[in-house]
């Protein structure tokens, strides 16, 4: 806690509530993401993790509450101003959301190509410089998303999110459906982005190994709200029943000594 004192707040969510008709999904969510911090969000399926992320990026409007990104209030912000802030964010969606009418390399450089004209050769070169960090082969660049495997699509989506080196990463289950080796490659990437580039990250995940690798702080969404938060190590001492359920399947000795 001490070392956070002077750190800049990157994202601040206050009193956020969201429901769909009668279905209350989130109630009074409060948290902060500091500069250089990697935050993991865990929670049962359907607990509202993706809904929280979509509120932060403005795809869903909260019923009440405030969301500040770099001190700018996002709720009810005019579209053109919101857009400017979103450009600094690297976002992946749970199901990829790759543009299926564009080739993989066009997907990856989409945001950059929108701002700056590039010929195909430059574009592919830029795309390749990113995918090689993700263990992908250059052959996939000229294919369409529908022509590569699910795990490859996942990585293309991550490549699209990190293209242009955004300072804030928001990842919805980036490692689900990946083999452990590739999964840890993605974790490595998130960690590098946070540690060496000074970025900040929010990662939604079900993968506890991943939580221990990437997170400085863990937040549990349960019963519509943040019912627990702490460091990954705090999880082992927690009396919260849900947290215990999450760590039960893993061999704590092994991970603690890692």
């Amino acid at each position: 806690m001490e070392k956070r004192k002077n750190k800049k707040i990157i994202i601040k969510v206050s009193d956020l509530s969201k429901s769909f008709n009668d279905n209350i999904v989130l109630k009074n969510i409060n948290f902060k993401l500091f500069e250089g911090e990697s935050l993991a969000i865990i929670g049962a399926s359907g607990s509202g993790k993706s809904v929280l992320l979509k509120n932060i990026i403005g795809i869903l409007e909260p019923d009440k509450g405030s969301i500040q990104i770099n001190d700018t209030e996002m709720v009810n912000l005019p579209r053109n101003l919101k857009e400017k802030i979103l450009l600094d964010l690297g976002i992946t969606f749970q199901h990829g959301a790759l543009f299926d009418s564009l080739k993989n390399w066009e997907n990856i450089i989409f945001k950059i190509a929108n701002k700056k004209k590039m010929n195909n050769k430059q574009g592919k070169k830029l795309a390749f410089s990113i995918i090689k960090k993700l263990g992908l082969q250059p052959e996939i660049l000229d294919l369409y998303p529908s022509e590569i495997s699910g795990g490859m699509q996942k990585r293309v989506a991550i490549a699209r999110a990190i293209c242009g080196n955004p300072k804030i990463l928001l990842f919805d289950e980036p490692t689900s459906g990946l083999d452990p080796v590739t999964g840890s490659l993605i974790d490595q990437l998130i960690k590098t982005a946070v540690r060496t580039v000074g970025g900040s990250a929010i990662t939604i995940t079900h993968d506890m190994a991943s939580v221990f690798r990437i997170a400085d702080k863990v937040m549990l969404i349960d019963n519509k709200t943040i019912s627990w938060s702490g460091t990954p190590k705090d999880m082992f001492n927690s009396t919260n029943a849900k947290i215990q359920e999450f760590i039960k399947p893993i061999n704590s000795e092994f991970l603690l000594n890692d």
Binding site: K54, I57, G58, I59, E83, L86, L87, L89, I91, F93, H95, G96, A97, L98, F99, D100, S101, F110, K111, N114, K115, R160
Partner: protein, 261 residues
């Protein structure tokens, strides 16, 4: 009894209100789409792709339908008006029916079936798979990137398709008149040219442009507002074809009444 009555009233009222709300919703979409259609920058590559898709690849269906309609018209006119089976009657009826009505309407309906369904399915799939959300987070306005090119291309292509369809339809009539009804080719052609009216062409082109607007707006609207799941895509597709076809047939009456009524 009273309960049943109130219940029916309530349901009908609810349906009616949601219908009005939907119309309002559509016009808001319409206004926003028009705004983004005229606002630079334009995605020229996207517009070009759409023109190819809507214009060029619709040529076979449009050509085929108008060609056979021209042939049928010539044959029917000949059989129906045996008293006046002169070159000039057949030529004139074929020409006027096609340029005023059949050319634009058949082209409109064909394009609504082919392109409207495709546009709606494409946009609805993008909605359902969160691609539209992703577009918004990657520095693009979905309206400008996705919808505007389709509207521009429809406005450009459908009038041109109608002009081509008209020509092919008249040719269909000519072929029947000459090879089946054994009319004199030069008399038939002369009559066709004589009765060719600029106002008919203008009216047909205006219709075509309005049909283009209807097809692209309705399809994009249903696609853009599709609800989740494969069902949402199917609903968007069928609704857009049905609604744009009905709107084409309704508006053709209104435009005809305005021009000739």
């Amino acid at each position: 009894m009273l309960y049943l009555f109130l219940n029916i009233l309530g349901t009908t009222g609810k349906k009616f209100i949601s219908f009005i709300a939907n119309i309002g919703h559509f016009f808001i979409f319409f206004g926003s789409a028009i705004y983004w259609t005229f606002k630079p920058p334009w995605y020229l590559k996207k517009i070009f792709q759409q023109i190819l898709d809507i214009g060029y690849f619709s040529l076979p269906v449009v050509g085929l339908t108008t060609f056979f309609s021209g042939m049928v018209l010539a044959l029917q006119t000949y059989n129906g008006f045996t008293d006046f089976n002169s070159e000039s009657t057949v030529a004139r009826i074929v020409l006027t029916s096609i340029t005023r009505e059949l050319g634009p309407v058949l082209t409109g309906l064909m394009v609504a079936g082919r392109i409207g369904a495709k546009m709606a399915a494409e946009i609805a799939t993008m909605r359902v798979t969160e691609q539209i959300d992703a577009l918004g987070t990657l520095g693009t306005r979905p309206m400008q990137y996705l919808i505007a090119p389709k509207i521009i291309a429809s406005l450009v292509c459908i009038p041109i398709l109608v002009l081509i369809g008209n020509t092919i339809g008249i040719l269909g009539g000519y072929i029947i008149a000459i090879y089946k009804l054994n009319f004199n080719p030069s008399l038939y052609l002369y009559a066709t040219i004589e009765y060719l009216q600029l106002i008919d062409i203008i009216q047909g082109t205006v219709k075509a442009a309005i049909f283009g607007l209807i097809i692209s707006m309705v399809s994009c609207y249903f696609g853009y507002n599709a609800s989740k799941g494969a069902e949402g895509v199917g609903f968007a597709t069928t609704s857009s074809v049905v609604i744009s076809s009905v709107m084409i047939l309704t508006s053709t009456y209104i435009i005809t009444a305005l021009f000739f009524g």
